[in-house]
Symmetry: C2
Amino acid sequence: MAEGEQGVKKEEEEGQVVNPWEVSAGKGGIDYDKLVDQFGCQRLDAALVDRVARLTGRPPHVFLRRGLFFAHRDFSDILDLYEKGEKFYLYTGRGPSSEALHLGHLIPFMFTKYLQEAFKVPLVIQLTDDEKFYWKNLTVEESKRLAHENAKDIIACGFDVDRTFIFTDFGYVGGAFYENMAKVARCVTYNKAVGIFGFSPEDHIGKCSFPPVQAVPSFPSSFPHLFPGKDQLRCLIPCAIDQDPYFRMTRDVAPRIGYQKPSLIESRFFPALQGENTKMSASDANSAIYVTDSTKEIKTKVNKYAFSGGQDSIELHRKLGANLDVDVPIKYLNFFLEDDDELEHIKKEYKEGRMLTGEVKQRLIAVLSELVARHQRARAQVTDEMVDAFMAVRPLPKMFS
Amino acid sequence: MAEGEQGVKKEEEEGQVVNPWEVSAGKGGIDYDKLVDQFGCQRLDAALVDRVARLTGRPPHVFLRRGLFFAHRDFSDILDLYEKGEKFYLYTGRGPSSEALHLGHLIPFMFTKYLQEAFKVPLVIQLTDDEKFYWKNLTVEESKRLAHENAKDIIACGFDVDRTFIFTDFGYVGGAFYENMAKVARCVTYNKAVGIFGFSPEDHIGKCSFPPVQAVPSFPSSFPHLFPGKDQLRCLIPCAIDQDPYFRMTRDVAPRIGYQKPSLIESRFFPALQGENTKMSASDANSAIYVTDSTKEIKTKVNKYAFSGGQDSIELHRKLGANLDVDVPIKYLNFFLEDDDELEHIKKEYKEGRMLTGEVKQRLIAVLSELVARHQRARAQVTDEMVDAFMAVRPLPKMFS
């Protein structure tokens, strides 16, 4: 069976919906095990994490060693080749649907930055302004403006301009990229696209035109200014697992048009403050911490909205301890508190009732405030000229060094 | 009812199929009257032809005065505005599916050249190499090569490089053109596209991605190097009537995205040598006269294949005369013999049995041989540099003069 066969319908039957436009959990949160089985991807196990550490000569990223990036497709192939001295390139992206990014949006970029540094490889970042024009009620101009603003937040994550090409679809589609779009489109029937993405016949044709646009950055020939003569260079895509349908389709098509299948490394969703049942929503400001939030706002949101696994009274809490499985502050610390020992300590103390929710939230507020303040300082340094520099269609002579 | 509502199904029920990929007649040839009613376009009457003559100060083109361009959409609006001193631009195109063009392929270009000269207006010519990649079993490279070769034949028709921009989709899609594609795509549901174009769910998604590509040259903002600040400039599209579905769709969408509807002037099909039931087929060399044919080949094809309305024996012919309604040599002369008096004389003599099929064919061979030889001489003068000059993305400062 082709990789793309596991479609939208099956997910719906089983009570959770995960596709690029909708993530909603059944009872008890997203069932990631079921998702891996449904999508047909592979689990990212400890042996693979150890291998990354060994090959890169540095400790694996928090997101990796704590299982937040938890699934993959052929990541081990990339490592096999890397071990033999072959390089690859990274591809990630964002749909620019909002002015400000929330913490969940930062996850793939923080992780991609780590991969870029650890493996010393080039990176392409796609801003799908066309996608947001198709799916949201935005004008072309507004989609493009949001892409430009989002690019600043992405650059603020610390990417190396000598190894990074950022592009928007409205700006870059054309030429070799458009040729590859056509090659992909010719290999995907409408029925197949419906099976993968759940389009309806009353959806506009922009929707079924779009998947090839997100597919083709997986192919080095889409970037003749970066990878001339390197049509077989492998591509690794770090992304949240809701993007998997695009790349199931891409991997299905790739060998039919003479290209390598991209590899993937896929993350869980960063939970909403209210709990794990969905990923955060850009449309509900109280569901998420934004990179534009002040320390005061962070404090209010965490204290007021972060779902607690602690007990209703101090007495009961001291006696029963916290339920870490549903506790949002612990989940957030799991993403952002780098010190493994401290995290383990907090989890133990909290679970056994010696630490109170308020104390855990205090620590989280400190961690997030520092993270957000650091981002805001970096963001303030990003000029329009820097955006232009990252977006210039240019060779990157030092991209593999 | 929107203009696009008259779909493929209705045509099929009535025994003739006319869409951009298939033209097949019911019994007795294409019923053009029915087509005009089905498509919802307007008949191009003598009063409109006279008006063109008056406004341009030159006799109307043979194709116009003999009713070969026979239908239109809002062509009179274009003339109203022209009379008030407002200019417009022309848009025509070709799907480059074959190495050599046949006479039927030349019709829109010969007519467009006349319009360009008569009205002194700019012209954009789209070569849909992406369409042919989608619909024919061609590689991207072969589609692009055919587009380049076809461009030479088009240039050989005598277009003015100071008023003409030729582009291929693989070369030009992107930027403002791609933004307009997205705007059109967002206004057309898949169901609507199926109604207009007859796509099946087992067709690949390239097919339903394509109509916006052919739609957007109708909008001046797709050519920012030609028409900056002239977003409301009107567009006139000369084409064969099988292209009407694209522009029904385009006209339906235009006001919803703030653009003018393009106007159309539409031709009958140039008949195959074997008769009027279809347009010529690029895949059957004996169904058509090619611009690459030698005089000898033209002579053989006309004598051997051109369907005659004459009688079976000379005696019978002298008595009954020819049936001009089905006679292909007369139809061809109707397109290409410019002298109205001579044509009328031939038709009368032939119809009344005084002229024989062989004699009419002799005259046709002379006319076609001269036309084709002239084309071949012009084609031989067209260099790759000239193709580059026509295709350069550049302003055309003298395009309205």
